[in-house]
Symmetry: C2
Subunit: 153 residues, 2 copies
Amino acid sequence: MADNHDHAHSHRHNHLVEDMLATMSRNGWRITEQRKTLAKIFAEQDGYLSPKDVYDQMSAEYPSVSFDTVYRNLRMLSEMGVLEQFYFMEGGLKFKGSCLSHHHHHLICVNCEKTMTFDYCPMEQSLELPGNYKILNHRFEIYGVCDQCQNQS
Amino acid sequence: MADNHDHAHSHRHNHLVEDMLATMSRNGWRITEQRKTLAKIFAEQDGYLSPKDVYDQMSAEYPSVSFDTVYRNLRMLSEMGVLEQFYFMEGGLKFKGSCLSHHHHHLICVNCEKTMTFDYCPMEQSLELPGNYKILNHRFEIYGVCDQCQNQS
DNA sequence: CTCAATGCAAAATGTTTGCATAATG
DNA sequence: CATTATGCAAACATTTTGCATTGAG
């Protein structure tokens, strides 16, 4: 099972990694070993990762990596739009690879943080809003417990 | 204008202050001068306040107040449900008095953080969601620039 | 070979904790 | 008067910065 699962994924992963690296390159950033590793980590991961998580995974491949480099790169990648950042109330700031292709919202597992996307957007309704705000953006997330996490405890 | 505006508000404010103090009392917390001030600050304020904002306003009345007391009380009031906390991406953790009476969502001014509520809730739609998540809660916020802030620059 | 990226150390920020003192109920 | 809340100081966690060195283009 693990085998063709992983195999099916690896194509998508390589594609994502290349996308991320291409975006960095396009924005004038150099492709370093650490940034390749960073891209790979987020391509292989559906959920959110804290800077600490990323650091831990990075140091597995590059034992000498430093925390500030991780932070710097996470920040840059967020600014470029390659990563989405999100602040969990408990658990602080986390990052995940962002889908750049289309507007969508997230269904997030509060246990493992695995995230699924869905296309329904409440802003497509004709909302009656109070005040005369000039609307800039919005945020809609649904939290729950995913199938796996429901069955495993 | 300021006069009957303020006057109309003051009734609501007193009511809110009493509500908050009653909730603290009900939960077995003592009503201290600082907590009264804290309740008043949030009753008089529509928008979000950072711990620093709260500290500054508190020290206007109690110059000797300390930061950790502010934090402690903010945390307690949040746990009790008297305050809602919210993490602004830029600007960190902030608090506002919470409306305990009915479910609603927020329209938030990104400039002054003045917040209006509205009753439309996307969860009332029959959403088709991926996965088999057991849904726990959700979050829907709209960000914009309020009337005042649009006209003042 | 030039300039950007890294690692290191140290600082800045934001939040929490332990404990003696003060104040509430 | 018993017990909780406060202020102080110090600890802690997280994120940012300055600078010499390394490495990508």
